[in-house]
Point group: C2
Chain length 248, copies 2
């Protein structure tokens, strides 16, 4: 509703969950970097991806102002949580402060990010392999959640860390994704329409991890966080139907 002074509340699991959904469910973000020429902040817009450890990921041109800035100073901030209709300050939003790590082309990390980014943003195939494009991982340092009216929280880097599965039942998350798709071909559409009342369509799972699923359809993205973290990929396959329909 407004920019009213807010007492910072004690961070609880609901706040952590809301913060994670605001970050992980964002297709794009406002990114703030420090302009190396003037020292002024510089805010622009980027598509957002996620790495398997919970770091945010951006794919940017070497010629863009934010790339030049991040190579000179890796300190960055992301704002996610887009207002819909009504008062823009009534909508929950997350300010993340993060450190940018440039990803070397053709490294293992690059290949992993490429696969994940393409699954989330299929249209990026038009330019993802251009030689002057690069990924940055944005490692969370701390964050502020404004959950609406008098609901302000501070979060730490640990709150955004994504625990990896403790088993290696599948050689990579892509194989797990295929197994999941094979077992439950209509799962993504059921989550989208039954749980989130999203429009019907050809929804698919673009990522799966120990804390949830990303499901996408055209320009829509839903982050479905599980009620509790799941420890192993094996457990995920067993527990999934329960987790999908239990929305706290």
């Amino acid at each position: 509703m407004n920019d009213k002074p807010q007492v910072i509340r004690d961070t609880d699991d609901d706040a952590r969950r809301q913060a994670r959904i605001l970050l992980r469910g964002a297709r794009f973000a406002a990114i703030g970097v420090i302009d190396p020429e003037t020292g002024f902040p510089f805010v622009s817009r980027v598509l957002l991806g996620m790495d398997s450890d919970g770091a945010a990921v951006i794919l940017v041109s070497n010629l863009s102002a934010h790339t030049t800035a991040l190579l000179a100073d890796p300190r960055a901030s992301l704002l996610t949580g887009e207002p819909a209709k009504g008062d823009p300050l009534a909508h929950p939003r997350l300010t993340l402060q993060c450190t940018a790590e440039s990803v070397e082309r053709d490294s293992e990390t690059h290949l992993r990010l490429r696969t994940r980014f393409l699954a989330r943003h299929p249209k990026s195939q038009l330019y993802i392999d251009f030689p002057d494009f690069r990924f940055f991982r944005l490692r969370p340092e701390r964050a502020s959640l404004n959950g609406g009216f008098g609901r302000a929280y501070h979060l730490s880097s640990a709150d955004f860390l994504l625990p990896e599965f403790t088993d290696d039942l599948f050689e990579d998350s892509d194989a797990l994704l295929r197994e999941l798709g094979g077992r439950h071909p209509d799962l993504a559409t059921r989550i989208a329409t039954d749980v989130y009342q999203a429009p019907h369509g050809d929804w698919r799972i673009s990522a799966v991890d120990s804390q949830g699923l990303d499901i996408v359809f055209k320009d829509l993205l839903i982050r479905h966080e599980f009620p509790v973290s799941i420890t192993t990929a094996g457990e995920l396959l067993l527990e999934l139907p329960k987790s999908v329909y239990a929305v706290p």
Copy 2:
């Protein structure tokens, strides 16, 4: 469409016009400031107003992180131009770099900003007079316009300067607004629906200046820039019907 490297084009009047509309037509913005504790950028969301000289205006709580930061370091950046459906990077957006000037309470500037901000954001009356709220004027220094696909431009502070009327036919812009409303009671609705195909409703003019009109209805705001600047308030009253329907 993407973050493709863009040759910077020569800034022309169309680019200036698009940049001004992106700034002046924004109800809210992402604001980037420098966190005084860590030196990291910090991006959050603010409601946006405009002063009579073209400076951006924000109304913020003394307890908010961006206020603390701006009092320590006045360098700021605004991102405006919200994506609708589709590719978020296909939508025009503006990065403004600006210097924040804190406005003293009960100064002439404060009273002017209060009137203008209320006309633009009527719901701010709930907190605009809280003693711990303050206005900042954000004086444009330079900007980058990303007008979509390969349309990148640099802009200077002069491109955002709003020339004031050279006559003093009305003691203040509020009186001019009343005169305009008296002469053309249905003008705002006609502009909104005829020129911009906006929904029908009780549209009203919230601000008028030498380069255009702001018209508002509920949570909608349209910035209508005139094809050419108008020099005097007297000329404005004569020229307005022409200006309203001439959209370049």
